[in-house]
Symmetry: none
Subunit: 216 residues, 2 copies
């Protein structure tokens, strides 16, 4: 599998743009724990994950961290290329959470292609909107934490009712029970999964760590 197979709008670039892009990237393997981009360092470039897992976080003056979003296979990170847009005025740190293989794309080249390709610019817009949604969700979590408690409580209740930790229930149903939206519940369950409290599969939520859910 080549870069072409990972880059979603590859076929919307013309042959010149494709060649330009290929000349502007290199692949890299990094070990778990490596910081590949550090806000105050140089403009690293865009990162496209081939395999592995990374996280983007910010750091307070006192050294406290908060994870802003995570990157999995095929995810792309814009904010490691902040020199690409003058309006990106914040600094993130990108760290590998597992051994990771990725491509690094030069910011300047990506920017120059984006200036002539509406397709690439619109794709980049969607990427940013996705991250924006992540961050808005995070704010809601920070400010109004109650929903995570409500979802946890609901799952624990269901487990008692079903006499099983393997719940046959859709995200839609949970949302309806709690007066919330499916998308919101999905994001919450993904968060629970990333914290190893539950395991998700089609139509099923399996409780892995009852204790941790209860502690919410």
């Amino acid at each position: 599998m080549e870069f072409q197979d990972y880059f979603p709008i590859w076929n919307k670039l013309n042959i010149n743009q494709q060649n330009k892009m290929l000349r502007a990237l290199h692949s890299q393997k990094i070990k778990k724990g490596t910081v590949i981009h550090n806000g105050s360092m140089e403009c690293t470039g865009l990162l496209l994950v081939k395999s592995g897992q990374m996280r983007a976080y910010i750091l307070s003056d006192e050294g406290r961290e908060i994870t802003i979003y995570r990157l999995f296979d095929r995810d792309m990170c814009l904010f490691s290329a902040y020199c690409m847009m003058r309006s990106i005025q914040f600094e993130v740190i990108i760290e590998a959470e597992k051994d990771t293989e990725l491509w690094v794309i030069q910011s300047e080249t990506y920017k120059s292609i984006m200036e002539e390709s509406a397709d690439l610019a619109n794709y980049t817009n969607e990427l940013m909107a996705t991250r924006f949604s992540d961050v808005m969700w995070l704010i809601e979590q920070i400010m109004w934490k109650s929903l995570d408690k409500r979802v946890a409580e609901f799952l624990l209740e269901e487990a008692v009712i079903d006499e099983s930790k393997e719940l046959k229930i859709t995200h839609e149903t949970i949302a309806n029970h709690l007066g919330s939206h499916r998308e919101v519940i999905t994001r919450m369950l993904n968060y629970f999964q990333s914290e190893r409290m539950v395991k998700l599969s089609r139509g099923t939520v399996t409780i892995l760590d009852e204790e941790k859910l209860r502690n919410l």
Copy 2:
């Protein structure tokens, strides 16, 4: 002054795109306090402020508010047109803080121009990055600044916006901006008053010692 004078990249659109845009917009005057966009309602369109002041905020299940960003003359709001991008998965409410004159641009038309104009798509990218920076700043505020600093900063900002040290603002309103409770804000302001940083009277907070507030 016409729309053309307010829209920053007007000259980068071709004549067809310009005509399309003009047909897709209407101007509107709204009174202070009007909610012009409410997350769960229809896709209002993009908003370009001619004059006035608006704020974008989110609302918790329990009715608590927090201001995400503000819009002044010539500012444009994307998130009132969330149907424009499928990745925008959060809801904001847009409210006029002063009597406001603005243009509303149909989302579908804007989107269709953006799909063919790299210039418009890149401009939109920059807009989103600006809001992203606002929101990242907000997260840092919430996470890592104690409330006294946030209240002080808010009062100083308001003084700049209003060009006055005598702020016509209730404790409730300050609480809503900062995602806090009225009682908490009142306590903080009473503390500020006891330190002679502000003077409180009905519906008014007067800044007495800007220097001291800034030093917080």
